[in-house]
C-alpha cells in the first residue's frame, strides 16, 4: 500500500513539475511568414534561435509561422480582435498600412539613435522612417535587387561571362542573343524573364530598377506619410514600361509565358532576371547546384546614368496592443544586438547590419557579401506614404496593361497616375 502511495505521489510530482516550471516562465509570441518567402524567416523554425535568451531571462519565445499571402490580413484581424502576437516579423512594404492604423509601438528615440549610428548605411536607410523615427528593427540579410545572369549561357552565345550589360541598349542586345527558340519558333529560353502576373506589388518590385533608373518615382517624397503625388506618368516612367514592350514585340527576347523570373532563371530557361539577390543566393545551391551565376547592378538607360535598385527588408515590430511589450522589446533588442548579429549571420550565411561586423571575417572577404556591398549604395527604400498600397496597385496594373497590350503605355500610365493620386489623397483624409 505504502509503495503504491509513494508511486502515485512520485508520478504526480513528475507531471506537475514541468507544468509549474512553465507556469513560472512568461511566454511571448512571435509571428513570422512560414516557408521560404524570405531567407531570414526560416530561422524562426530553429528551436535554438532564442534558447540563450530564454535561459538568461526566463522568457520563452514562441514563434508561430503564418501563411505569407494572408499574413497582413491576419495581423490586422488579430489587432481588431485585441488578440495579437507580442512581436511581429513583417515585410517593410506592409509598414504604411500598419502606420496608417497607428498600430505599432515606436522605438524609443535614444534607442533609435543608437541603432542608426551603429548600423551600416543601407540598414540606416531601411530603418529610418523620417527624422530618425523608427518603428522596428530591420533583420540581418536584407534584400537588394540585382541583375543575375547565367554565365554558361553567356559563354554559349559568345558573350563575356564576367561582363553583364551596363546600359539598356546592351541589355536588349544581350537578351536577343540569349533567347532560344524551337523548330516551330516558340521561345524555349528567354534572354530576360519578366514578372507580369500576380500581386501588383510584386510586379512593381521587379520593374522598380527601370522606373527609378529612368528618373521616375512611385511617390514624389518617399519619406512623407501623407500627401504628395506620384511621379510615374513621366518620360522616365514611359521609357521604363516601353523598354519591356519593345523587348516583347520588337526584339522578342522576353515572353509572357515565363511568369516567375527567379524560377525560370534557376531552371535555366531564362538567362537574365532582376530580383532579390538574397533569394537566388539561398535557392541556387538547392535548386540549381551546377548553376554558375553572376550578380550586378541593373542596367541604366544610358552610360553615365546612376543605377537604381530596391532595398527591402523584414522588421521586428511590436504592436501597440501586444500584451507583453516590455518582454517583446527585450527579446528584439537581444536578437538585434551586435554580438547576435555577428553570430547569427555567420551561422545562417546572411549579411550583417552593424558596421563593426562588416569588418570581421567571414564577411570581410566573402565574395557574395562583398558583391552585395557594391549594390547597397544604389538601393532605394520603398516610399512610406499611407496611400502606398493604392500607388503600387495602380502602377502594377499599368505595367500589366501595357505589357499585355491592353492599353498603350501612355494610356496605362495616365490611368495609373489618376488612381495613384486618388489613393494618396484618400489615405491622407
Amino acid at each position: 500500500m505504502k509503495v503504491r502511495r509513494l508511486l502515485v505521489i512520485a508520478l504526480a510530482c513528475l507531471l506537475f513539475t514541468p507544468a509549474l516550471a512553465l507556469a513560472g516562465a512568461k511566454t511571448i509570441t512571435l509571428w513570422y511568414p512560414a516557408g521560404d518567402i524570405t531567407a531570414g524567416a526560416a530561422h524562426f523554425a530553429d528551436k535554438a534561435l532564442f534558447a540563450e535568451f530564454e535561459q538568461k531571462t526566463g522568457i520563452k519565445v514562441e514563434a508561430v509561422g503564418m501563411d505569407y499571402d494572408t499574413m497582413q490580413q491576419k495581423i490586422f484581424a488579430a489587432a481588431a480582435g485585441r488578440n495579437i502576437a507580442d512581436i511581429l516579423f513583417v515585410d517593410d512594404s506592409w509598414m504604411p498600412g500598419f502606420l496608417k492604423e497607428e498600430m505599432l509601438e515606436q522605438v524609443a528615440a535614444p534607442k533609435a539613435k543608437a541603432w542608426l549610428d551603429t548600423v551600416s548605411p543601407e540598414i540606416r536607410t531601411l530603418s529610418d522612417f523620417g527624422q530618425g523615427q523608427m518603428w522596428g528593427y530591420v533583420q540581418y540579410g536584407i534584400d537588394v535587387y540585382g541583375l543575375t545572369w547565367n554565365k554558361d549561357q553567356f559563354k554559349e552565345v559568345g558573350l563575356d561571362p564576367e561582363k553583364p550589360p551596363k546600359t539598356w541598349a546592351e541589355f536588349r542586345e544581350y537578351a536577343k542573343k540569349l533567347t532560344k527558340r524551337d523548330a516551330q519558333g516558340n521561345i524555349t529560353r528567354v534572354g530576360y524573364a519578366i514578372r507580369h502576373v500576380g500581386q501588383p506589388h510584386g510586379v512593381v518590385h521587379k520593374h522598380f530598377w527601370a522606373i527609378y533608373g529612368a528618373g521616375a518615382a512611385l511617390v514624389d517624397n518617399p519619406l512623407a506619410l501623407r500627401g504628395g503625388k506620384t511621379m510615374i506618368n513621366t518620360p522616365g516612367g514611359k521609357a521604363a514600361l516601353q523598354l519591356v514592350v519593345d523587348m516583347l514585340d520588337v526584339d522578342k527576347s522576353t515572353s509572357l509565358n515565363f511568369p516567375d523570373p527567379r524560377a525560370a532563371f534557376l531552371k535555366g530557361i531564362a538567362s537574365m532576371q532582376i530580383s532579390e539577390t538574397v533569394s537566388i543566393h539561398a535557392r541556387a545551391p538547392k535548386e540549381a547546384p551546377d548553376l554558375k551565376w553572376g550578380m550586378a547592378l541593373p542596367p541604366v538607360p544610358k552610360a553615365g546614368d546612376r543605377p537604381a535598385t530596391n532595398l527591402g527588408g523584414w522588421l521586428y515590430v511590436v504592436p501597440k496592443l501586444a500584451k507583453n511589450k516590455v518582454e517583446a522589446w527585450q527579446a528584439i533588442e537581444w536578437i538585434n544586438s551586435p554580438a547576435m548579429d555577428y553570430e547569427l549571420c555567420k551561422k545562417y550565411d546572411a549579411s550583417p547590419r552593424y558596421k563593426v561586423n562588416w569588418d570581421k571575417e567571414p564577411f570581410k572577404s566573402d565574395p557574395y557579401n562583398q558583391a552585395l556591398k557594391q549594390l547597397y549604395p544604389y538601393g532605394l527604400k520603398l516610399p512610406i506614404n499611407l496611400g502606398f498600397n493604392g500607388v503600387m496597385e495602380a502602377t502594377g496594373n499599368a505595367i500589366q496593361k501595357s505589357w499585355h497590350h491592353e492599353a498603350s503605355v501612355d494610356a496605362a500610365l495616365a490611368e495609373a497616375e489618376r488612381l495613384a493620386n486618388k489613393a494618396i489623397a484618400d489615405a491622407a483624409k
Binding site: 509572357l256 498600397n389 502594377g396 496594373n397 491592353e406
Partner: protein, 305 residues
Amino acid sequence: MSSHGRGSIRKLVARWHARRIFHAYLFIAPVVVLFGIFRVAPSIQTLLYSFYKVELLRGRFTFIGLENFQALLTDEIFRRATMNTLTYVVAIVPISAFLGLVLAVLFNAEFRLKEVFKAIYFAPMVTSTVAAAMVWWWMYNPQFGIFNVLLRLVGIPDQPWLMSSRMALPSVIIFSVWKTLGYNMIIYLAGLQAIPPQFYEAATIDGASAFGRFRRITIPLLAPTTTFILIYNSILAFQVFDQVFVLTGGGPANSTNVVVLDLYRQAFERYNFGYAAAEAMVLFLFIMGITVLQYVYSQRYEVSY
C-alpha cells in the same frame, strides 16, 4: 399588468404547450440561434457599417451617410470588378446549366459504367475549390501545363491563359464550369426522373419526334428545376472568390477582379471596412434583384403534374 392580461398570457402559454409549440421552438432553437449569431447579426452589422467610416483598431465609427456609396459610383476598380462579376455570371450560369442538362439527358439512359461516369462528372463538386484551382493553375501553366501540351499536339501555338488580361477571365470561367457542371447534372437528373413516363409514351403514340418530346415535354416540365439551378448558380456566381483568389489574384491588371475580391482587399488590405461593407450591400442588392427577377419570370413556366 392586470389580472386579465396575466390570465390571457397564461392561456396562450397553456395553448402553446398543448400544441407542443414550445417543443418545436426548442428543437429548432440551436439552428435559429447559430444562424442569428453567424448570419443575421453580421449582415445587420455590415448594413450599418456601410454608412460609417469604420476604424476598427481605434474603435472609431464616424457616420458619413451615403458617402461610401457615392464613392463607389466613381471607383473605376469597383466598376471593373462589377463588370467582371456580371460577365462571369452571364457566362457561367447558362453554360453550366445547359451542359448540366445535356449530361443529365445522356445519363438518363441506361449504359455500361454509367454510375462510374456520373461519379467522375460529380467529383469536381465535392473537391475543395482551392485544391482544384491549384491543380488547374498548373494545367494552365504556359510552359508545362497540359492545355498547351494538347494545343501543341494539334499544331496550335501556346496560349498564355491566366497570364493574359484577355484570356484570364475566360480561363477562370472554364474552371468554374467544370466545377459546377456535376451538381447541375445531378439536379437535372432528379428533375428528369420525376417526369412521369406516360407523357413521353402518349407523345410517342401521337407521333412526336425525340426532339419534339424534349422541347414540348422535357423542357417545360423541367422549368422548376431550371429555375432552381439558375437562381442557385447565380447566387454562387455573384459570390465568386476562391478560384479567382487562387488562380489569378484578380489580375492581370484587374482583368479578373470581382466584387467579393475587391471588398476583401478594401477591408483587409486597405482597412476600409465601411467602404467594403458598402460594396457588400451593392452585391447583396444585385443578388436579390436577379433572384427576384428569375423567380417572378419563372412563374410563367411553372407546371404541375
